[in-house]
């Protein structure tokens, strides 16, 4: 078994070994570009970590890990087009560098590459893996659609928000773990428990992100505190506050602000959050999902020693500054 850092090295090495066709250059250059931008490689690491619960041979799981990481990066290219984002991990986005049409098509061919990775799997696990992979991909697309629709809606409920982050973020965490279990020939029950662990962890992780956006320590956060408040993003905190607050406070929260006013808005909205103990309410939610995740992890029928790295990763994801 390998710890998180060791698995990150294994994943990074496997990514470097990926080969794409050399032509047309403009179709494949964006793939090499985005795959090299880095990141923590959490999703492929989860594939391998889940597999190692059941079998330490990483040959098959690595195909699945590369499929998941390729798929994830494909969604980043297309999401960045839809969000009109200029930067990704501090670097210029694919559609800004190569144009929108090129970015659409390079994304498309990445989805093909992801499926090609899967087609390397042994036939004994292929059907199950393909089903899980595509169900996961379907969920992620559904989540992105909901996220886009929520931007133009004023009546999003807390339940709808949780459903959106479940699809957009948590399904891929759960799917990566389930896929890893499946390619390592885990039982259906263990694979489902890993999915449930991941899905609940994913929701908790995203809620934690919403909290950090407002309450992180500015020195450690690495980006603008209150970015979600400034951009009027309907996070769990915002939706909960709208439910609790007076109507003039709600107007303040929804108001568009720029420059110095934006900073003032962050301050004012944070005070409203504090008044209604929104942070504490959100933390209660995080705890509920973490407890569910831990219950699912407990239910997996392998020894506790084998679960040590998944527990360590949970800890690392949940106790963080950014």
């Amino acid at each position: 078994m390998h710890n998180i850092s060791e698995l990150q090295v294994i994943v990074e090495e496997a990514i470097k070994q990926l080969r794409y066709p050399s032509k047309p250059d403009k179709l494949y250059a964006p793939i090499s570009y985005i795959m090299a931008l880095g990141g923590k490689r959490i999703r492929p690491v989860l594939v391998l970590m889940a597999a190692e619960l059941f079998d330490e041979d990483l040959k098959e799981p690595l195909h699945a890990a590369m499929a998941i990481e390729t798929f994830h990066n494909f969604t980043l290219i297309h999401d960045d087009i839809m969000d009109n984002a200029p930067l990704r991990r501090g670097k210029i986005t694919v559609h800004e560098k190569w144009g929108v049409n090129n970015a659409i098509l390079s994304g498309d061919v990445m989805m093909v590459e992801a499926n090609k990775q899967l087609s390397n799997l042994d036939i004994s696990v292929l059907k199950r893996a393909l089903f899980t992979f595509n169900s996961t991909a379907q969920g992620v697309c559904q989540g992105q659609q909901l996220d886009m629709e929520f931007e133009n809606r004023d009546d999003v409920t807390l339940e709808e928000y949780i459903e959106m982050i479940r699809l957009k973020t948590a399904v891929l965490i759960g799917g990566a773990l389930k896929l890893g279990a499946e390619v390592a020939n885990a039982s259906v029950e263990d694979a489902e428990n890993l999915y449930s662990f991941g899905e609940n962890l994913g929701i908790a992780f995203q809620l934690q992100d919403d909290i950090l956006d407002v309450y992180a320590s500015p020195e450690k956060f690495g980006k603008q505190i209150g970015g979600d408040i400034i951009s009027n993003k309907k996070t769990w905190l915002m939706l909960q506050a709208i439910q609790e607050a007076e109507s003039e406070e709600i107007l303040t929260m929804l108001q568009v602000s720029e420059g110095d006013e934006a900073l003032l808005k962050v301050k004012t909205v944070t005070e409203i959050y504090n008044k209604y103990k929104i942070k504490e309410l959100a933390e209660t939610q995080v705890k509920i999902y973490i407890d569910k995740a831990m219950q699912a992890l407990d239910n997996i029928k392998v020894s506790d020693e084998r679960k040590v790295y998944l527990r360590a990763l949970t800890q690392k994801l949940m106790v963080r500054d950014n």
Copy 2:
């Protein structure tokens, strides 16, 4: 065995039976919309026709046929975005109706649906089918990329043009046939011969399209004669003519023209084509590819009676008015 019209009915019926998730509605409505726009369903028919050479049970081949048709329609949605096309089969395009972001995402989830169709296949054929499907999808993306790049290049060669139409059009014809053969447990050699038949037929078909654009009978063609000439499209005819013509003739061919001038341009360029016998040269090329296709069909180790519908389809595709 079924003839072409019977297979078209079977395909149409299977498409009607396809079910997508009900939510988010805006993600799936474009899929139902484009799949219902019709067309001749050539590609899924080819899957079934190839399969019936070897086995008349269409249960498995229908999954593959739906995967191919879903993939093809996904490429139409994304190609229409890239080409900024307002209409598809006489109806408003998906990106015009639902917006570009929605069209990108609905296309993405169609690729997922296509792979889900494949994951229904029996494990005995799944790995082979998945490999062929994704190699095909890869080729189509490469072809679209080359097509986009050629628009901004003045030095495209005839060989490059053939390579572009091979990837953009012919690989999918060949891939559909190969996939059909594979899910019907054909030998590797027969599957390859079907691929070669389809690839050569696809190139011939596209060259025939280029000829029809200029030389079709106006009453039967159903669209503007000389559309490629007006839009300065670098078809095989145009590229061949540029190779043969005098420099002032080349200027005429590349000149941008609108309204009545455009009609005059069609007339003048057609005269240049006639002067250099471009139509005859193109027809010679068509014949070369058809001969190759027929050779590959001959090489397939099933009785001649079983090949009758593939020959009929070839005839139908090559002797046409539009």
